[in-house]
Symmetry: C2
Subunit: 228 residues, 2 copies
Amino acid sequence: MKPIARIHTPFPTKFGIPRQSGLIPSLPAEIVFEKEFRNPDAVRGLDDFSHIWLLWEFSEAKRSTWSATVRPPRLGGNQRMGVFATRSPFRPNPIGLSCVRLQKIDFSGERGPVLHVLGADLMDQTPIYDIKPYLPAFDSQPQASGGFTEALAEKPLHIECSPALLEKIPQEKRELLWSVLSQDPRPSYQHDKTRIYGLEFDNMEIRFSIDGLRLIIHEIRHRGQAHE
Amino acid sequence: MKPIARIHTPFPTKFGIPRQSGLIPSLPAEIVFEKEFRNPDAVRGLDDFSHIWLLWEFSEAKRSTWSATVRPPRLGGNQRMGVFATRSPFRPNPIGLSCVRLQKIDFSGERGPVLHVLGADLMDQTPIYDIKPYLPAFDSQPQASGGFTEALAEKPLHIECSPALLEKIPQEKRELLWSVLSQDPRPSYQHDKTRIYGLEFDNMEIRFSIDGLRLIIHEIRHRGQAHE
């Protein structure tokens, strides 16, 4: 098993990454092949597919032992489920599976072909092991029952941000950042409303607290910029 | 990467395996965990899901080098497509992805928990790397476009079998075997109507030829039985 590509996403750390692919459908990412696999022939015909599968490494979640049960964040972090009944990163073989939308393939430039995808739930620089076309005839099972995940609807948070802070966020990033924040990036067992969280997104750090369904932005830092 | 389980299917060889999971929805298989992972806790909650993903090793298709293009059988075996635009086993990292229906989990006995699944497209004894629940909210994309695979409809073959030969096939296996045969197990570039093929299925070997859309069964052998 060797990485064929790496993905570039706005998330330099795990914090804030959507919990599943497609949760933020407009979230952009780029897949850049490793030099050995950087070959336009290898993606011939792929641009006719609207969706692709990514098989990737849970590179930040490796453990030397495995645990039979995990505590899914969506269940509040208290209830234990079998590891094979979840998509938890802490599993015997640390492989992730994500369905993303294929927006376009850029064949130009030294890095080409680069796959532009939408909706990925991966950290920046995650190694990709495989890319497969999504075959709706076999992969799409709309009638499937979703087990314990079905009953769980998450309420989006309401974002509060002063006009002065809003100015610091490039206009074209605001909608996307609001989507990321409103899905509540906290570990679900944390409910301390005085706690300040820091989300790294693109070249920003957004510092905020959460009180009930209100997310209050306290500070925006730009990367490399000192505390103001 | 180490196998967590092995699957038991009626296909001791590659010949005749359905080309995708779900093509023969009633095809039964059993997933037996390796001893280290044989733990009922590890599948807690899984029986609430109707479908699961299998990540598995293309154990019979390993090559030391990779090729940027492959010739998908469904395109007649003549046209080349990029390996990442196909589900071909001959890919840089030999990992397969299959969606199967979870029929039941048998917790009893020394081998338990055993997962009984339907619709698998795997060879007997294939090593399984991971089992994940199918999450329809994220994994099901019925509107996705299926690229070059969309226009391809395969015509099922008509099976011809003498009453004397039919007698040799256990009644409860006939429907399943007919499904396997009617989807044309030949490599798609072979069209020699005099050629005799041998399909190993369960403990039988079925010898047949194909002429147009007619599949003619010539002989049924039972495993360990001499040529009659």
